[in-house]
Symmetry: C4
Subunit: 235 residues, 4 copies
């Protein structure tokens, strides 16, 4: 993938991708919630579209911007010096603006007030731990995917989030920009604005934890040295 796109196109991709991701999360939540009283079924109607759209968005926008759609992911790439600090800041702004736009578009499609303030309580140590786990798994999946199976990353992220919707007690927000956008939707996918800081801090912590673990576990140098020594031993 040698062609590099300029910053406006990359930012457009980040904003559009985060917008479509949030429109899917919020929109499918509204749809599911309208059609059933069974919360597990609503969650399934929320999970399957989100996992599916992630595969699509990362595949088609990844070559443009890297398809972060997530400030925690951009932060990790900035710390690894795989994106310039300046661009990273613009990325985060594009993600937040795009995410909010996605929430607004979802509301418009379902003829609801465009801007809402969520009243859904999501707080407490269980929820925070869940967000640490969710972001940890997401970032580890991305970093190991980049190391071993670049072409599979869209699928890996889509499937990871499909699972994390159910195995984390928080339904896996794992994304500060998406969390902010969801705070502006008083629907199935919402979160009270006052609960945002806890979620965002937990997500950042989980992302850093994964980055640290991956730094050791996937380390090329030591592994290569080990492999070389084995080869020598085999001579």
């Amino acid at each position: 993938m040698s062609i590099t796109f300029d910053l406006p196109r990359r930012l457009a991709a980040e904003a559009l991708g985060t917008a479509m991701l949030v429109a899917t999360v919020v929109g499918s939540g509204i749809m599911a919630d309208r059609f059933t009283d069974d919360v597990a079924l609503s969650l399934l109607g929320n999970t399957i579209p989100t996992g599916a759209i992630l595969v699509v968005l990362i595949t088609v926008l990844g070559p443009l911007s890297g398809a972060h759609f997530n400030p925690a992911v951009t932060m990790v790439f900035a710390l690894r010096r795989e994106i310039e600090a300046n661009a990273a800041l613009f990325y985060v702004v594009a993600q937040i603006v795009g995410g909010i736009a996605g929430s607004v578009v979802a509301h418009a499609m379902f003829e609801l007030p465009l801007i809402q303030i969520s009243a859904t309580v999501r707080t407490g140590t269980g929820q925070w731990l869940a967000e640490v786990v969710a972001a940890f798994g997401l970032v580890l999946t991305i970093l190991a995917g980049l190391r071993f199976r670049l072409d599979a990353i869209p699928w890996l992220v889509g499937l990871y989030i499909t699972a994390a919707y159910w195995f984390t007690a928080s339904t896996s927000f794992a994304n500060p920009a998406v969390a902010i956008a969801r705070a502006l939707s008083d629907t199935f996918a919402g979160i009270r604005p006052v609960d945002l800081p806890g979620f965002i801090l937990a997500e950042i912590f989980g992302a850093l934890l994964a980055m640290a673990l991956a730094g050791w576990m996937l380390a090329e140098e030591e592994a290569a040295i080990h492999a070389l020594n084995e080869l020598k031993g085999a001579e």
Copy 2:
């Protein structure tokens, strides 16, 4: 994929593909509706088969005709001069005829009147916006897929529609030929004939919007120039 098939085979592929797509949309809607009172579950029983059959049909018929199955998609390719205007007209006819046949076959399998007129109201600004979004996302997915991951297009379209069934308020028709065929089915997937023009116009508008955005965002020339300049800067 260098072998070119002649027009009759291409039209047969378009008609057959659209027929099987509509038979799946209409048939699975009837099946789901018969078996449950939960509308979310019916929608799930409608979504999963549709997403699945799209992957199959685009994979096996794509090499024959390009697997448009959709006049909005054919229009975009005609405007981009990737299909001759004449062939495009035949494609659209084949899609509409095939779509209607698919509806008839679905009714025959479920022993219902072969031709029906839907009474399902689908109108209003929310629905129209939803169809703009649905077609916009579909065409953007296809154009970016053609640019970056040709082999993945069947999956991308199948997954995109899987998501769009839930995140758009209209359950994502996104296809004028399929919309016409669904107007002839007074079942779960139906739409009143009087509501067709609004849907079709919205779908065409969404497709054109995606084409315009892709024209800028995916532009090869500028991106290549940018890449060349970067290479020069690196020397």
Copy 3:
């Protein structure tokens, strides 16, 4: 895939694959039926495992035997002279024996009488047409897959059956050996023995129809001639 396996291994693969396919169809039907009163949910609990196991079985046993698991498919390959008539007969026997074994194993796992006679009525023109459509689509998927995307066939068949479970009024048996095995199970997936001939004839007819259409639509010779003529015209 140049290595050829001997006939005993190929027959073992056909018997084992059909056994696991039927064990999945029958077993997941029993499981789903026990756990819910919603028939759509039971069908979903029947569909997802069947689609999933087909991808697995065709991938891992395909290199051994071709992974037919279906007398209608074996018949088509025999008529196309892609399998010897003798081997084809042995294949069909292995499929039927394997299918019945799969039914017995499913019953044993769920502690039900090992051999049962189904009382589920599945008959009438709607059902027969559905089986024609189901087998037609399956064989067309396989033949076009063999022509264009050999490596994708396991996924294509798994996804096709996932869709066909819902869009055909018969839930898509599409397989005489599986139909026979399902006649010996008085559970969710069953079919009255007296209804077998109608289903099997319809499946054979659908398979032959697909073979005839594919013979024209996918024809290499004419397509190649057409491509050559185009090339000449371009000179």
Copy 4:
């Protein structure tokens, strides 16, 4: 995949992978159980995340440790001398420790007592046969996948378990380490400690059965000889 990772990294991968697998099985079971009274829907909410996370974990951790996450699988590789006996023992310890940690983390996320003793009865010949079948199919899938489609193994295992959740009467534990961890969770996915020996023995037996069958059915030597003879015959 020529780089070899050292034993600490491999053990970390086995422990982490088994932990995330168990956290998914147990966590999604708790989530599903809380949100619905329909047991089939709970099982679906348990199945989809488990299948999805298996694809992810095997893809991203497979290059590190082989992604066994399962003492029965490690045993088979040890018997085939594809892993040293010493390393195999460490693998099994890492899997059991990781599995228990996964159960604890799931409980912590859902604010339940961290260590619990399951009271869910899972015993009897039907259940044991189901575990034999489940482990047999899993190991056969892995061994045939290794032989024919190395790159597809993550998908094959994820899809196999997705199916086996439904077609085996035991919901397919198929894994002694995961079974032990589930005995420490008195939730949807639990199993009474007293029922563990029956499950573990059945799983080991099923794994050995698959290993024996694969030893014959996939045998390279005889197949190669056969292919050679055919080539000679063709001269």
